[in-house]
């Protein structure tokens, strides 16, 4: 197995491969180590790894009723969140899975046979489950498959992620006691007797939850395409668009717009890191843009503000979005967003719905991730190493009032709309899953 890839050092790909051969607990620990050692970093890899490991938890851990399954998932989730508290997506995925379990459980309980039989396939047939395992590694940039998905009108294309809200609605109408006012444990506790000993039902629940997690994985892998679908609406001919250290999401978005529109793009680059000369940054991206006939201008961060008065739109790829609408993004984005606001340029944030977190930390500093000191200063510079205290922020928080539009895989939203998106995707009882879990014996 290790001979598949060149190196020995661990990364996401190796981790996913190792999942099959390892015991569950060993896999969880190896993921925790990878997160702590930052060998898996960035919101998308973290989200994928989390989804995979939770799938393993559901499939392989011991549980005999919904309660114990919820407990298993939230325990694992809590450990993952602790391992890398700055990556909010980990918590988001855990909440999604918890919500999914609750939905499936209540669904099955409500109307034992026919409901689950008729409801369950609906979400899964959007993407056939056969292709799941390779999807992330190989097909992410496969434009053929993405075109079919993206060709759908936005609402339909996001059907898979509406699934939870749909079943929540369903759930609210059929079984009112599970509403958030009541403690989740009372309701599910009351229901346990019907579950216990019913092996086939457990089996059904297990496969349904697994299907649900597969959907989440699909959703993550399709986010970029779905977001890119609204590119043409956002970018108009002749626009001067500024992007800051474009992530793959942003790149896809711009490239999609470039197919139809003629505009000018400013790429604000990270301050020159030590090894990479600025020319090398985003080289492939720039090549593709110029192939599409788009004017590309590279701007260093420092010279950026002079251009700001002419910029129409600033597009920022989010690492996470908190409940207030604040955006966790690469360091440097906040200054750009503020300048854009002053000059009246629109600030557009691209974020997959899985990056939208119900958390709203009261302390901004707890969201910011601090990186390696050697990012900007060479360790071989002795006097600087011993004489200066170097702080490298990897992320920063863009205050919500600076953001005009959020584009997710569900479409375009304003800040006011975020709260309803959160309510659609997460259950209230799961919002603080890492806190209530601790209260259990």
């Amino acid at each position: 197995m290790p001979s598949v890839s060149a190196g020995h050092a661990l990364d996401l790909e190796k981790f996913l491969k190792s999942l099959k051969g390892q015991a569950l607990e060993a896999s969880i620990n190896s993921l925790i180590s990878l997160l702590k050692r930052r060998q898996i970093r960035g919101s998308e890899p973290c989200a994928i790894a989390t989804a995979h490991i939770l799938l393993q938890v559901v499939a392989r851990s011991k549980w005999h009723d919904v309660n114990s399954l919820l407990l298993n998932v939230s325990r694992t989730g809590r450990r993952l969140v602790d391992a890398q508290p700055n990556e909010l997506v980990i918590g988001n995925i855990v909440r999604r899975v918890l919500g999914l379990i609750r939905d499936e459980a209540s669904e099955d309980r409500g109307d034992a046979g026919d409901e689950s039989a008729s409801e369950a396939p609906t979400p899964t047939d959007i993407v056939p489950p056969a292709s799941i395992s390779q999807q992330w590694s190989s097909k992410r940039f496969d434009s053929a498959s993405s075109a079919t998905v993206a060709a759908r009108p936005p609402l339909v294309s996001s059907y898979s992620s509406i699934n939870p809200p749909k079943s929540l609605f369903h759930l609210l109408s059929t079984s009112p006691p599970t509403d958030g006012d009541v403690s989740p444990f009372k309701t599910s506790g009351a229901s346990t007797p019907t579950w216990r000993g019913n092996a086939s039902q457990i089996h059904a629940l297990r496969s349904e939850v697994i299907d649900g997690i597969e959907e989440i994985k699909d959703e993550i892998s399709q986010v970029d395409d779905q977001i890119a679908a609204s590119a043409e609406v956002q970018i108009h001919p002749g626009d001067l668009v500024l992007v800051h250290q474009p992530s793959t999401t942003v790149e896809r978005f711009i490239l999609r717009a470039a197919q139809k529109r003629k505009f000018t793009i400013l790429i604000a680059m990270a301050p020159p890191r030590r090894q990479h000369s600025p020319e090398n940054q985003h080289a492939a991206f720039r090549k593709k843009l110029s192939a599409a006939g788009i004017t590309v201008v590279n701007v260093m961060n420092g010279g950026l503000m002079a251009y700001m008065s002419r910029v129409n739109k600033v597009i920022i790829g989010a690492r996470a979005v908190v409940a207030t609408g604040g955006v966790v993004a690469d360091a440097g984005s906040a200054a750009i967003a503020r300048a854009a606001k002053e000059q009246g340029a629109a600030v557009v944030v691209l974020n997959g719905i899985y990056k939208l977190s119900p958390e709203s930390p009261f302390d901004e500093s707890s969201l910011i991730e601090w990186g390696d000191s050697s990012t900007f200063v060479s360790f071989s510079d002795g006097p600087l190493v011993s004489g200066a205290e170097i702080r490298t922020a990897l992320t920063e928080l863009i205050p919500p009032e600076l953001v005009d539009t959020y584009i997710t895989n569900l479409g375009t939203h304003s800040r006011d709309h975020l709260s309803s998106l959160i309510a659609d995707h997460y259950k209230r009882e799961d919002a603080d899953f890492h806190i209530w879990e601790e209260a259990l014996p």
């Binding site: 050092a9 050692r37 090894q275 050697s374 071989s380 002795g382 190493v385």
Partner: protein
């Protein structure tokens, strides 16, 4: 680089089926050999009770960093040699997540290697070769490595070279340290690598240190003529001693049975004999990332600072990489573990504080690392210090740049100055102040309970200053002396060096070579003294002094035996090492002084000074003649030098002994004895009395002062023109 690396890896894969099973297994599974014992004692007194690899670095045992580094690089099989305190290391790892019995271990194999009576790294590696545990490329690291390097590219490059030729046996991982002074470069010993610019082949390796007499490096002319057209000589590299080796490296160790150190012996030797063995060693020089070895206390200090400065990312407390840690970063770069508490008016800055530690009000803590379960009283000032677990510091105490090991109790109102090392379980009473850096321990270097020093440490103490007898065995030019203290400074060493070295080139200008080793406090000391034996191999010099002193001491201890054989042996050694007169004189002086000091101690009868001196010089037949011919062997200048050597040796050996007062009178006694034996003349002794070097430093001056009576008497005797020439034989 990385591009190349990938190609090579894929080509390696392509060829694999053609190879034997064992080899292909070696390619798939990365193995590592961890040397958890480096056969050094630079962490004394702490390592008397605990192995070095379990000492906490930023509240985590050193070995954890090493193992995380290996796990990060996808190492599968790990072999650990524990060495000293084997049981403690095995027990620790056995209970940790790394144990092969633990389900959480990322390693498929973790095996301890026990080697009976290994005395050096070389012995261990030769034993590894015999066992043939490793069958493919493996990483050779020490148990005190802290690194975050990803070695994929280096491994791939190594593999590619090995595919190209079986003679390419090893790749060293080095880190560029820049031309300027750098805290993480090893002080004292500077490794010098000669590396081919294009092929990265390492052509020559040597070590330099500021104590050596010749500030130059000699290189094989063949390097320029045959081996390379373009090469760099780099003295700036930080060498964490991470090596990617093929099993042939072990075989090569076996072939050269006398190699002990991986760098100074093995690397130097293999590169020197490139024509004979035909092996090639390469160096991968990293500009990015971090790699260093906590190989001595100064490096321990530097690496701790690097951890605080986040250079070792992701291995920083705040990431909680190590199990069961719950650190959180707060303002002012204070990283506090859950469960720690501090008073609100305590001023904390740039520090790490472990769980269950409490800090009293008004305390000021800067740049320090405090372990778990400590109690820091109120109004304590901690600066640049390291406090390990469960230590108590009383109110109002001031500690600067020191290490306090676990379970130490420091009373109220104490003051512990820069450079102090306080070992496990030491208790210090209230209101004790030390004027200079002090090393305290409850046990002696052999692990026995120490007799407590109530005068120094107050009534509630259980410790005494720590004195390592092995220090004396070291040659004064051995650079490892420079690495024994927490504070690197040449100032102190200049004194002791100049005190033994005898040829002074008074106007030797500052050498460029060593100017970058000098810390600020060394700059104004008299560095011109730092010199100068005839240029010969430094390794030879060291062994000469140690061997000669041992040989002579053995002969002297035999007491009644004939001294001729010892003399013969000594002269043989001299010829073998091409030792200079000055070195011989030093060795002779040291040997006799040690014997005399020994005789004063109670175990050997506790003779008084004059008796001891007499016994040392006259007990063996021929000893006095030997001293006369070999030790002094000349006129007034030689006599002066010999007395100076005696004085310095005495200053050295009487240090830390309880018999200090008694042994301090040894110098006049010995001089008198030598005078009586006609080995020294008045001119010599008086010349020494006038000599400025005799008062070089406090203790030297103190020793000299004791001889005042003798000198006055000699002066009088001279004036009276040899009135009573021989009467001094009986008087004491």
């Amino acid at each position: 680089m990385s591009h190349k690396g990938k190609n090579s890896a894929s080509s390696a894969k392509g060829k694999k089926p053609a190879k034997s099973n064992a080899e292909s297994k070696g390619e798939d599974v990365l193995q590592a050999v961890v040397l958890a014992d480096s056969f050094q004692d630079r962490f004394k007194p702490f390592t008397v009770e605990k192995p070095r690899c379990l000492l906490p670095l930023a509240n985590t045992p050193l070995i954890e960093y090493t193992l995380e580094f290996l796990a990060m690089n996808g190492v599968q099989e790990v072999y650990i040699y524990c060495g000293a305190h084997t049981n403690q290391v095995e027990e620790y790892i056995g209970r940790s997540k790394w144990a092969s019995s633990s389900k959480l271990s990322p390693f498929s194999v973790l095996q301890f290697v026990r080697v009976a009576d290994a005395r050096s790294v070389g012995d261990v590696l030769r034993d590894m070769d015999k066992r043939s545990l490793v069958d493919g490329d493996f990483l050779l690291v020490h148990g005190d490595v802290v690194s975050n390097l990803i070695l994929d590219d280096a491994l791939a490059a190594h593999r590619k070279r090995r595919e190209a030729s079986a003679a390419n046996i090893m790749t060293m991982i080095l880190h560029s340290g820049g031309p300027e002074e750098h805290r993480t470069k090893t002080n004292g010993i500077t490794p010098v690598f000669v590396v081919d610019t294009k092929t990265q082949r390492c052509l020559h390796y040597d070590e330099m240190n500021p104590l050596q007499s010749d500030h130059y490096l000699s290189m094989d002319p063949a390097i320029a003529e045959e081996l390379s057209t373009e090469f760099e000589i780099r003295a700036d590299l930080i060498d964490a001693q991470i090596d990617i080796c093929t099993p042939e490296v072990l075989a090569l160790w076996s072939e050269s049975f006398d190699y002990e150190l991986p760098r100074r012996n093995f690397l130097h030797g293999v590169l020197k004999d490139w024509e004979l063995n035909g092996k090639m060693i390469y160096a991968e020089i990293f500009e990015d990332g971090y790699a260093a070895r906590a190989s001595n206390l100064q490096m321990y200090d530097s690496i701790s600072r690097d951890i605080l400065g986040r250079w070792t990312f992701p291995f920083i407390p705040e990431n909680n990489v190590f199990l069961k840690q719950t650190f959180k970063k707060h303002i002012n770069n204070v990283i506090i573990e859950t469960g720690a508490s501090h008073a609100h008016d305590a001023k904390l800055q740039n520090s790490v504080i472990g769980t269950n530690t409490s800090i009293g009000s008004g305390s000021k803590i800067t740049n320090s690392i405090i372990g778990t379960g400590c109690k820091i009283g109120s109004n304590v000032t901690l600066d640049n210090s390291f406090i390990w677990n469960n230590t108590t510091v009383g109110d109002g105490t001031t500690i600067s740049k020191s290490i306090l090991a676990g379970d130490v109790v420091v009373g109220k109102g104490c003051s512990i100055p820069t450079g102090s090392l306080i070992s496990y379980c030491v208790q210090i009473s209230d209101n004790i102040s030390f004027s200079t850096a002090t090393v305290l321990s409850t046990v002696t270097s052999t692990g026995k309970q120490v007799t407590k020093d109530i005068n120094l440490l107050g009534p509630n103490s259980n410790a005494a200053p720590f004195f390592d007898p092995e220090d004396d065995e070291l040659d004064d030019e051995d650079p490892s002396r420079l690495q024994k203290s927490l504070i690197y400074s040449l100032a102190n060493f200049n004194l002791s060096t100049s005190s033994i070295s005898t040829f002074n080139s008074d106007d030797e200008s500052d050498d460029d070579n060593d100017s970058n080793f000098l810390s600020a406090d060394a700059a104004h000391s008299s560095r011109s003294r730092l010199s100068s034996f005839a240029s010969d191999d430094s390794a030879g010099k060291m062994s000469f002094h140690a061997d000669a002193v041992h040989g002579l001491l053995d002969a002297l201890r035999a007491d009644s035996g004939d001294f001729d054989s010892a003399k013969l042996e000594f002269m043989g050694l001299r010829l073998a090492n091409n030792a200079s007169d000055a070195m011989m004189r030093k060795a002779v002086a040291t040997a006799f002084t040690r014997r005399a000091v020994e005789l004063v101690t109670p175990e050997h009868g506790g003779l008084d000074a004059s008796k001891a001196a007499e016994r040392a010089f006259t007990a063996c037949k021929g000893a006095s003649k030997f001293v006369n011919e070999v030790g002094v062997g000349g006129g007034e200048p030689e006599q002066i030098e010999f007395i100076l050597s005696l004085q310095r040796a005495l200053q050295h050996y009487s240090k830390g002994q309880e018999q200090q007062t008694k042994s301090s009178t040894l110098l006049p006694a010995m001089l008198q004895q030598l005078y009586a034996l006609d080995i020294l003349e008045e001119e010599g002794i008086l010349g020494w009395w006038e000599d400025a070097r005799a008062v070089d430093g406090e203790s030297m001056a103190a020793l000299k002062e004791k001889c005042k009576v003798l000198v006055e008497w000699l002066e009088n005797a001279e004036e009276e023109d040899d009135d009573d020439d021989d009467s001094d034989d009986d008087s004491d």
